[in-house]
Symmetry: D2
Subunit: 395 residues, 4 copies
């Protein structure tokens, strides 16, 4: 978006925005203290897609769904892709899971035991096979690997093992496939995490090659970290693969994106727009992937996801509305207050009417939450989805 | 401990030290990502006591065991107390649990629904009944209550509800029973916790009366909090009920106490000694309760608890070795380096030989970890405890 | 403000809002690395008042000015009050300063040296004398006292000394005078601060009596602290004396209030409104004092203060606009998303038009910043205030 | 150091250790609230060197002194080097200063004004000239550059400007000269710092070439950052240029190294030893530079620096004492407690007797602090250094 974007240009950009919702957010989640089950939660990957289709139907900007293997393992991924297609969806990023097997107590790809490492790498390679089957373009790798106690393992050896595993997987990727490497400060590792920050992820990606990109999960940083700086830097380096959006007041709280600090989300989206990241994500080209990764522990899941999508839209709309010319002019003059004011003018704008317009012009109801409520879907799934095992982490 | 403590006085103080280990630390625990089961873990409250008895046998300073209701619910608490007594143990603090029922999704004693509040209070009152049966003196209350989203509930109404519940329980306490109120910054609540800091716990205790005391869990603070200052302040106010010891690098990591920041543990124990808290705890009088509250997610549980007990002993020994006269003299002179040096001299001392002496004079092996290893207990329980359901959070 | 406030009621509340600007914010400030001097900065307390009068003239809600002794020491405080009155201002809170004398290297009222303590207390008593002369109602006490190294001084002795000093000053207060005790986590003390948190300030105030109240500086907390919870709690306890408003991304950054986290400021103002704190502050009665305490290190000072006042107004307006009935109803039903949504609806509203109306109805220009810019005052002071010594910390 | 280091090998490594003390630590420093002047503080660069010579005389491991330009600007750097040499010292790292001129209010090398950027780069180039004159090998670059408010300047443009400036300076370096790039989370910039983390510094260094290396200041991280992980990673990447040692409880407190968290310092030195960083630093080859960067705001400066040197020595000694074979064996077996125990065994060792031996074998007194005290130097400088302007930041 350039200076002086017309309202039409803003609306056009908002129309083409595409977010990816995660299959696991439709299932149960919780903390180590308790997982509160909710009525109507999906029992199968198909039912997760059914719910995701409602989010897309009401918002118009959530056409893809991320899968988590093995939680979404099915016999026939082609059939699953068909199930999605019939509901107007596509299967998106494949998320590997190497943290829920007893073998991974001391790590997966960085485990001191080579047999465990081989098992973990085999799972990652299987995920690429699944990508081939689903047509997914991105493999997202988050490793819970790390140590809880100083001395528990050798920090450097673990980097060597990580490097070797990533290389093996990278070499298996197809031409149009990417590896998205996620970092996280802590949890479940409580002393040292093997990919704790963007610098570590970036260094590994650099060595791997252009198909390796960094993922920014907005809840994975130390207190006080300026996340939008990281976003701007990774875009400048051509290494921002995407986001895992959520929000937090403390640690990796996984609250609805924009719920804890909407101004931060705006600043992030401003840097995305500034760095050209929105355009790439909106096109079909491999650009910045805008994914949600949240836990709706106590709130109803589908409307929480709709709300999250709307929060990202609102932050994006505000970012697009920044008067780039006024901003740039004040920055060049060194007028601190005017430059800050130019940014705040956009932030302080109530963009909800604009987004209502965008939706109505696309044939959608102006208020997705109200539309979902009126659709009766929630009552239906509560009634229908009785029996079976509710989806959740580990299922 | 006063200035110029003789070695004998230090050893005497160390001999009378008493720590309480938590029944749940012998069972499985984990993070929201995974609970790694360990072989040999107890299946019953009785087996937890059997393990706790080994910790006491090798260290000599862990004579009591905290129970968690309902995890340790039994039909006959008198029989459970007998089981403990036969192994040289006593049943200690009763820990209430109002966070694992589906009804508590939006809180227990602060829930907006009065029916849920009544249920929670009933559980707390049941815990006092259990205290009567076990002879436990302390009721420990930790509430997971809080909110995840701004606006979710009224912060002030929740304080009113909390206040009412605490009053009901307080009034039920016997003359020699106490209520220990624990605070925690966050988790599982991610926006506002109803008892988030020592100030809130203290304000409630003040209103309740002298039998209400504050518990300091060393992992429950915001980054940068000076915990020993809180300890000194609560002792000065006569409101330090006890500790839940553990350690952390990030959040409430629940690592072995002393593992993450042994210097901090020393400073805490120094303030305990300075404020007269060790004497009270060591006597039978209601004083400062020294409890462990940890999660041995990946390390073997019994030796981890032995190690934790030793870490507290070592920190205590160093605190007792501070040359109070030299310290006080330097402080009065305003000699910053000398005063800091007096404290560091004690910290830099290797107290392991002294503690080995203390143990040998008590008829114990000098190295409890080695003694446990040689005892064959670990191999025995791995062999014996097959089948059944391993204890853990929720079981 | 109660449920369903009419627009008129909101406007009335906004009209009666009163903020206090600090004399020192008009002078130079900086970091330990550099104080950047700005042209036109006041050289005298009188010139600071002249600038403050411009802020009040354009906003209509900043009628009082806080003084800092000795920075604003004058021979004739009556004359200074007259100077203020002629410009439509009143002299507000008196801020004591016991941190800039070489004697205070190891503390002021908590210094191990009794002679230094006597000197510090004498200064505090002098400040009460000045209050008598200026008609100020509030004495604000912030102590930089603390220690940099463990062992440097005895934490508990320092509390005893603090307690004694506060008692002496408290007993000197007139019937309509208050003591506002401020807490701060760290800086300039880097190990232990003697009043580090609200709990410590509260405990001292409780013992002193009803004229002792706690001040919340929004930049004085550990990362992750829920400030609005503290505000709600202190209001519930009847001990919230006032605010020192500013904002921060990291530590005590002293940026313009609302600049770093406008959503947090809104949540704070919501709790103020919810707890009845706005009404008291707006009346003449001793209520919650809304003060700014900021450092405009790099931005032009007067417009920065105007902007800060506007930010508080906007947050207040949004807080007043919360549909209390809808919120309360959703909270009672346990509808997490609806309750959060009710709060967010108010936050997402663009209240700038409403505030423009409020100003115009009071005979002010709708945009205070533009009005200030057009007034020519800035050019005037840059031209006039040449020579002399610019005001700043320490002058 | 390899597994099973003999005591002799440990002592040899300790003997060859070399630390650099910073000229500015001998002068006055403080916080934004107050700089407390101390008697006897140097007035000239020469007097700083005189003091530094005392530190080296008593410790034997502090042979070089870092200079800060312009604080240590002299007419004849050759003469200054001679002054140093006569006292057994060498001039070390040259520290550029582009943060104390009024022109740098909005940045130095990243300032939006190209004229300011040129001025800043000219200063950096002058520093290389000084290196040529002093024989210094390392240019240390810390930039205070950043912004205080969102929108104030363009984050990405500032990276471009930074990149250009660094390139110009890098190209000017001689064959045996290095650029050490330091990062810092915040202060004095309070929104975005232009080099906020190791990742940013690393990315710039990578592009510049092998003579560009990253400096780790132990006080420049977000809360919770695992610094030893960064150390291990940078060593693995061949990009660890050196340390600025100090310690902190909160932000960039600049306390004596090892004072706040001695266990962290040990873990850092362990990774240095593990990664081969000690050997390079100890030899004359360009390796890891071990520098102090501290502020002795309230404690006497020379003994504080001696204490700091001793703290680094003690941490190094403990790191060297780790039984690498036992550690590695336990790590390979996945024995968490044994591996942690192997590290802790070394940490819990009292190494003061060993260091006393090392000193005595080098002809030094066993206790450097006591030796300094007895030397009479402190009384001498207090008596002699009267009049003139004491050195400090800005002088």
């Amino acid at each position: 978006m350039t200076a002086g974007s017309s309202k039409d240009a803003v609306k056009a950009a908002l129309t083409t925005q595409a977010l990816e919702t995660p299959s696991w957010a439709y299932g149960n989640s919780g903390t180590r203290f308790k997982v509160f089950a909710q009525p109507g939660v999906p029992r199968t990957p198909q039912e997760k897609l059914d719910d995701a289709a409602r989010v897309h139907a009401h918002t118009g900007v959530a056409p893809t769904v991320a899968l988590h293997i093995p939680w979404d393992r099915v016999d026939d991924y082609g059939a699953l892709a068909d199930h999605a297609a019939k509901r107007g969806l596509r299967l998106g990023t494949i998320n590997a899971n190497v943290f829920q097997d007893d073998d991974y107590r001391l790590g997966s790809v960085t485990n001191p035991d080579p047999a465990v490492r081989r098992k973990a790498v085999a799972h990652l390679l299987e995920c690429v096979d699944i990508m081939d089957a689903t047509g997914s373009k991105d493999l997202k790798l988050w490793f819970s690997d790390g140590t809880n106690y100083p001395g528990q393992d050798d920090l450097r050896d673990r980097q060597d093992r990580l490097s070797e595993a990533l290389r093996t997987v990278y070499d298996r990727l197809g031409d149009d496939q990417r590896m998205l490497l996620e970092y996280k400060l802590f949890e479940p590792a409580f002393y040292a995490t093997d990919v704790p920050d963007w610098g570590t992820a970036y260094a590994h990606c650099l060595k791997l090659g252009p198909k390796a990109q960094v993922v920014v999960d907005t809840g994975h940083h130390a207190p006080g970290t300026n996340i939008e700086f990281i976003v701007a830097t990774l875009l400048r380096e051509g290494r921002l693969g995407g986001f895992d959006f959520n929000s937090r007041f403390y640690a990796d709280d996984d609250l609805m994106v924009g719920a804890a600090d909407p101004f931060q989300l705006f600043r992030i989206m401003y840097e995305v727009v500034r760095g050209g990241g929105l355009a790439t994500g909106a096109s079909g080209a491999p650009g910045v992937a805008f994914m949600l990764d949240q836990c709706h522990n106590i709130e109803t899941k589908i409307p929480a996801i709709i709300r999250s999508v709307m929060n990202v839209q609102e932050a994006t709309a505000k970012a697009l509305l920044v008067d780039a010319e006024a901003l740039s002019d004040a920055q060049r003059r060194g007028d601190v207050l005017a430059a800050n004011g130019a940014l705040m003018d956009a932030y302080n704008t109530d963009v909800r009417p604009l987004l209502a317009e965008v939706r109505e012009e696309s044939g959608l109801a102006p208020d997705p939450l109200r539309a979902y409520e009126r659709s009766g879907w929630q009552e239906q799934i509560v009634e229908d989805r009785v029996g079976g095992v509710q989806a959740g982490w580990g299922a």
